[in-house]
Amino acid sequence: MNERQIDLEILRYDPETDEQPSFQTYRVPCQEDWVVLDAVNYIKDELDRTLSYRWSCHMAVCGSCGVMINGEPMLSCKAFVRDLPDSIRIEPLANFPIERDLVVVMDDFMGKLQSVTPYLVARDEKSIDDGEHHQTPAQLKKFKPYTLCINCTLCYAACPQYAHDENFVGPAALALAHRYNLDSRDVGRAARADVVASNAGIWECSFVGACSEVCPHEVDPAAAIQQAKIAATMDYFLGWLRPGREP
């Protein structure tokens, strides 16, 4: 297997000793089928034990390892070195405060996720003995893409609106709300509207579409938000025509 010497330039920050972050470069002998995460693990194991970063599954499903690679938000476990040049700049995800090295503060995102009522609001209390709700494959397909979000927050790192205004609820949280709104078993759209159809929610989005471009699982949060805008607008006008109507 061929080896390639790659320079990894990593943004470091230790709040106890550093006034601000600074870059540190490591030269790593990379195998040709490696991902950036393999190179970073090599650095930690062989070169510098003080490097902190998040990772777990190494198969792009846990969402831990999001970082900026040459300015682009990516999962380090799915960024193949064969697609990258001999010099790779790695920074923590944009638009989040840096906790330490490549670890960002996730509090705002976790709060946004919670705020959109991200669980099924069922039409009625069904007993277990009554079995499952019926849902056809066609009904499932309607909301299926929006269930695939791994909460990696690459979309927040790519979104210029979130960069500009940290109150923006953001792509992943809004896509999750849309997932439930489209689920045939759910009646929670009204409950979610206060947050979702607000100025800090879908109306903050100007459809840059960067979120959908960087999403590793093609969740397409941009589409979710535009569809939510149409749905919210319809709710508004139909609300005029029939006050007290359930959306």
Binding site: M1, D14, P15, E16, T17, D33, K44, D45, E46, R49, T50, L51, S52, Y53, R54, W55, S56, C57, H58, M59, A60, V61, C62, G63, S64, K78, F80, E99, R100, D101, V103, M106, M110, L113, Q114, P118, Y119, L120, A122, K126, I128, G131, E132, H133, H134, Q135, T136, P137, Q139, L140, F143, K144, T147, L148, I150, N151, Y180, D183, R185, D186
Partner: protein
């Protein structure tokens, strides 16, 4: 030191931990739950499970069938009272998940769909495409956000249990963002920290599967049961060990050696036709399939690659449409990580460590021998999986026993009227402080965490792999004793406080060293072959001597002490495990 008082502490926020938390919140909205996890809940390794969760669904299926498949799949080491309870609760828990919004794949008529899975006589594996664990974890996590009484402590690494007067009254945990040790005082504690696959070098398991909770209970005097039983999943990608779900065989995928021959028919799993047939060939149990690979390798019939020997998993005959509909993630993983599109080429696969059947000794109510301590999920051993777990039983296990642990802990928390003596709690905390503090001190040892981890990995694969011998196990025992001694001399290179992952990795290595020791000694003592524990020097199953669970007891500074407990046999006496065409 700060003491946070709550009613129940749950360590681990994967499928079992979240299910337990929800069970408590639904049972009693006055009880406070502190849900601790060293990672954010959606990162828990439940997320990587792919194939499905088993629960009787079809009219032509029965609880008896699920019971028999599980007991024989476990080579009769399962406690049959626990299995009876498990199969009865399974469909109810899976239905409950559907009520919470889990996007189960469906039949055209709108009912939940089920797929065939290894070792199961009738289809009963509920699935959500090939990302079942992902969907279950996110459904549980999102549902948990309904309950304000569940307080999450994300990125807290628990180091020790706090035991007062023989009762487990809390945990000590490091708040990773500040490096500070925090004490949680509670009336009941549930451990749901997952398995320990990372003691091996090639594994489907993510970085976090380091047996932390198992080690915590073990050191506190709770036995680890059946540790010698480690499951190799037959189809992991070479190099990375990434899981290629059994569901791909459930949909009809076949395994061939370098001659394009479906070799499983040579190992009692044939005849190869008519295909597909339940419990035959590629739908046999995982231990048999992994063992077949080992034999093919010895015969020189596997395919050599830079990442070791492989066989081929061929899905081409399924066609692009079926693959995209039922196995989209499998296609993506194969294309990305080994450059193979399964629509056109077979996927190279090999057995990799996947699941720890063994774990914290619990009864069927998820209780341990330590009052106030419960355990559920992969970190626990009830045992419903026995000597070999059937695929898709463990996702269901998380729900059934997570719920039981939650309900048990809630009951205990209500009955226990007083909070623990804070002085006693602070006293207990000294052990945790020492464990962490020692790592910051100068030792002059010059040992490297990565180096010791590699030595452990190498000896576990060599000595305690798919096939074991007395000699190989004794060698591993010697190596691990040496590793344990040298671990004591580790000094951190990173002595900072904020998000210090050198510290966390050092603590994880400490847990793995303890757990690995238990695995080796238990394997040495079990002089028979059963399920996934195969000995080249004791090739037969010996029910007279070994129809028992092994119990490993922690001995500070020495090898584990093993004793045994009879398996609970109720209505299925040990028989022959029959797969392939001969089974009825």
């Amino acid at each position: 030191m700060q003491v946070i008082t709550t009613d129940v502490v749950i360590v681990g926020a994967g499928g079992a931990g979240l299910r337990a938390a929800i069970a408590i919140a639904e049972e009693n909205s006055d009880l406070r739950v502190a849900l601790l996890s060293k990672v954010y809940p959606m990162r828990s390794h439940t997320v990587a499970a792919e194939g499905g969760a088993a629960g009787v669904a079809r009219d032509d299926d029965s609880l008896d069938n699920h019971f028999n498949d599980t007991v024989s799949g476990g080579d009769w080491l399962c406690d049959q009272d626990a299995v009876d309870l498990f199969v009865a609760e399974a469909p109810r828990e899976l239905t409950r998940m559907e009520h919470w919004g889990c996007p189960w794949s469906r039949q055209p008529n709108g009912r939940v769909a089920v797929r065939p899975f290894g070792g199961m006589k009738v289809e009963r594996t509920w699935y959500a495409a090939d990302k079942t664990g992902f969907h279950m974890l996110h459904t549980l996590f999102q549902t948990s956000m309904k309950y304000p009484t569940i307080e999450r402590y994300d990125e807290f690494y628990s180091t020790d249990l706090l035991v007062v007067d023989g009762h487990c009254r809390g945990v000590a945990a490091i708040e990773m963002r500040s490096g500070q040790l925090r004490l949680f005082s509670a009336k009941a504690v549930i451990i749901a920290t997952g398995g320990a696959g990372r003691i091996f070098p090639f594994t489907t398991n993510g970085a976090i599967k380091t047996g932390d909770g198992m080690a915590m209970a073990y050191r506190a005097g709770v036995a680890l049961k059946d540790m010698e039983f480690v499951q190799y999943h037959p189809t992991g990608l070479p190099g990375t060990g990434i899981l290629i779900t059994e569901g791909s065989r459930g949909e009809g995928g076949i395994l061939v050696n370098k001659d394009g021959y479906r070799y499983l028919q040579d190992y009692g799993l044939g005849p190869p036709d008519p295909w597909p047939r339940k419990k035959a060939m590629e739908l046999g149990p995982r231990d048999r399939l992994s063992q077949a690979f080992w034999h093919e390798h010895r015969k020189g019939r596997t395919i050599d690659t830079p990442h070791g020997d492989v066989v081929h998993l061929d899905l081409r005959h399924l066609g692009e449409q079926r693959i995209d509909e039922r196995l989209p993630m499998v296609r993506d993983l194969a294309v990305s990580y080994v450059g193979v599109d399964p629509v056109y080429e077979p996927i190279p696969v090999r057995p990799v460590v996947h699941y720890t059947m063994g774990g914290i000794d619990t009864d069927i109510d998820a209780r341990t021998s330590l009052a106030g301590l419960f355990a559920a999920g992969e970190c626990a051993c009830v045992s419903i999986n026995g000597a070999n777990r059937l695929g898709s039983n463990s996702l269901t296990e998380l729900l059934v026993f997570g719920a039981r642990a939650g309900r048990g802990a809630a009951e205990l928390a209500v009955a226990e009227t007083s909070d623990a003596n804070e002085t006693a709690i602070l006293e207990q905390a000294k052990v945790a402080q020492d464990r962490v503090g020692r790592l910051f001190q100068s030792s002059g040892g010059g040992e490297s965490i990565a180096g010791l981890r590699r030595e452990m990995n190498t000896t576990m694969e060599a000595g305690a792999g798919i096939y074991r011998t007395d000699a190989s196990l004794r060698e591993s025992c010697t190596v691990m004793n040496d590793v344990r001694k040298r671990y004591a001399g580790i000094e951190l290179e990173d002595k900072s406080n904020v998000y210090n992952t050198d510290l966390i990795q050092a603590l994880e290595l400490g847990a793995m060293v303890d757990v690995a020791g238990a695995v080796i000694v238990a394997a040495l003592e079990r002089k028979e072959s059963r399920g996934s524990h195969q000995r080249l020097d004791h090739t037969e199953r010996d029910d007279e001597a070994y129809l028992k669970h092994s119990l490993a007891h922690y001995v500070d500074g020495d090898d584990a002490r093993i004793d045994y407990r009879d398996v609970v046999i109720t209505r299925s006496p040990p028989g022959e495990r029959v797969y392939g065409g001969e089974q009825k």
